[in-house]
């Protein structure tokens, strides 16, 4: 029933898998209504001119032409988003894995405490205004007053508005925010590895923790590592809330921290050009598909 391979006809295979479909129904009916239908609608809208008042007008590839040929600002958003994906993704991925590994090797009592410490950012993550106090542009900002007291700087730095600093600050904050999810899933993965595998490893001549990590732990949690990578890339490509809350996103100076998400929000909620906003969304969607495909290829090897 379960491993019905290709020797049976398709109709027969569908029929014999009814239990599998039954188990998928509750979740996927929700996915159909709240994800598949809205996303398909957005794809259709990307070929129209839609201002949310009048009925959408079909314009063919016009939105895409405008996006790639005329729109210079889109290239900035694309560049910033890719920058996030390439810098932020790998750093927080590797850091989350190393921390999960170190914490997992610790004695039990300490471990619970350390996971709390490490997961704290994710819990307090939505509270962006704390960052604005820390990186306030005047002397009352914690970062400025600290540096001024140490005589490292004389004048307060406009951390969040100066195009020289704001990208760095946002990346730091985003790394800090994005660690939690990867970290927790790595912890869950590490804890599922059968201890007897480690015992067998000792017999096979594994001498230290690093060999154990390389020859037993990593091969055994490959699927969780892939999960972490997909989440990190997805997170990095959909950065938008942080830049919006801290540096203004599409209003930041010279669009220095504007991401694709900020750009979409701008067109969707400020200019009411839903067709164009949808086209940008579709491009982002394609970018995700490409990233996902290359990640899967990377992990299969």
């Amino acid at each position: 029933m379960i491993n019905s391979k290709h020797k049976y006809s398709l109709a027969h295979r569908i029929k014999s898998s009814w239990v599998s479909y039954l188990m998928l129904i509750p979740f996927f009916s929700l996915v159909l209504f709240f994800i598949v239908i809205p996303v398909s609608a957005a794809i259709v809208l990307s070929f129209t001119d839609f201002n949310m008042v009048e009925f959408p007008k079909w314009v063919g590839w016009l939105n895409y032409q405008r996006l790639f040929i005329e729109d210079q600002t889109f290239l900035i958003a694309l560049k910033n988003t890719l920058f996030f994906a390439l810098v932020n993704g790998p750093i927080s991925y590797i850091f989350a894995f190393i921390m999960a590994w170190i914490i997992n090797e610790m004695p039990r009592k300490f471990r619970v405490f350390m996971t709390v410490v490490f997961y704290a950012p994710s819990i307090s993550g939505n509270i962006y205004f704390i960052w604005t106090y820390l990186f306030n542009g005047d002397q009352y900002g914690i970062a400025n007053s600290f540096l001024m007291n140490m005589n490292i700087i004389k004048e307060p730095i406009q951390w969040l508005t100066d195009a020289k600093y704001n990208m760095t600050i946002v990346i730091l904050i985003q790394i800090w925010l994005s660690l939690g999810v990867g970290f927790l899933s790595f912890i869950a993965g590490l804890q599922s590895i059968d201890i007897s595998q480690y015992e067998a490893g000792i017999i096979d001549g594994i001498k230290n923790r690093f060999q154990r990590l390389w020859y037993i732990t990593i091969p055994n949690m490959k699927s969780m590592l892939l999960f972490g990578a997909v989440i990190q890339i997805a997170g990095a490509l959909s950065v938008g809330d942080v830049t919006q809350a801290l540096t203004g996103g599409y209003t930041s100076m010279n669009y220095s921290t504007m991401t694709i998400i900020n750009y979409i929000t701008d067109y969707a909620t400020q200019r009411y050009e839903m067709g164009y906003a949808s086209a940008i969304g579709v491009v982002l969607f394609i970018l995700v598909v490409v990233c996902k495909k290359s990640l899967f290829r990377l992990f299969r090897s």
Partner: protein, 256 residues
Amino acid sequence: MVLPFVYAVASSFKPPTEFFLFPPPFFPINPVFDNYKDLSVVLSNMWVPFERYVFNSTVIAAITSVVYLFIAAMSAFPLAKHDFPGKKVFLSVITLALMFTPAITGIPQYVVMTQLGLIDNMWGVILPALSSTLGVYLCINYLEIIPDTILESARIDGANEIRVWWSIIMPNIKPSLFTMLIFEFQAIWMSSGGNVLYSEQYKTLPAALGQVATAGIARAGVGSAASVIMMIPPLVIFIISQTIVIDTMTHSGIKG
């Protein structure tokens, strides 16, 4: 790592004057409870009793997290361990939907919800949250670690697939279930339901506290107090879940 978190807690005990000192103190010099008192005064003067917001948020978060664990784990099992026509399509939907951006699908989704009669109704917050694919994806990946041999032995004993799922899979994927619980609870707890809930009596705690904690240094203390209150439930859920995960899984792992 915890610095901003600690700073939020510390700030919630600062009297207003300490926000205007130079250099600004990281910890309060004279810790006071004034911010929490002010917050309770503001909240008790609201049009709808404060308990109502707490009630709304708790009901929404509880239903969402519990239902999600079941339907997500139930759909992850066939996707990870069965072979059936169309499996690849379902799997791609899961991974692609991780990138679901509300900015884009917001308008069509709103139309769908209006058609289903979900506007200004707590189900309008719950049902879309249940369609999150993050937990299902986590669960599928976790299931790959579980060896097929333990499933086969149950099948030989005559268990049907629902039974295999419930009595073999569910107990063995506890770490991922609790991890899912943490993600889902936190997401739903922090969601304000702003674009769905209009009537004041249906609104959630984050929506109510958000009105109090609007930025501005004069209200920094009260704002911090509000955030600290918001952080407590996810923190409690997190600590309980992690303790259980670590207790049940340490040195047992999954026997193949």
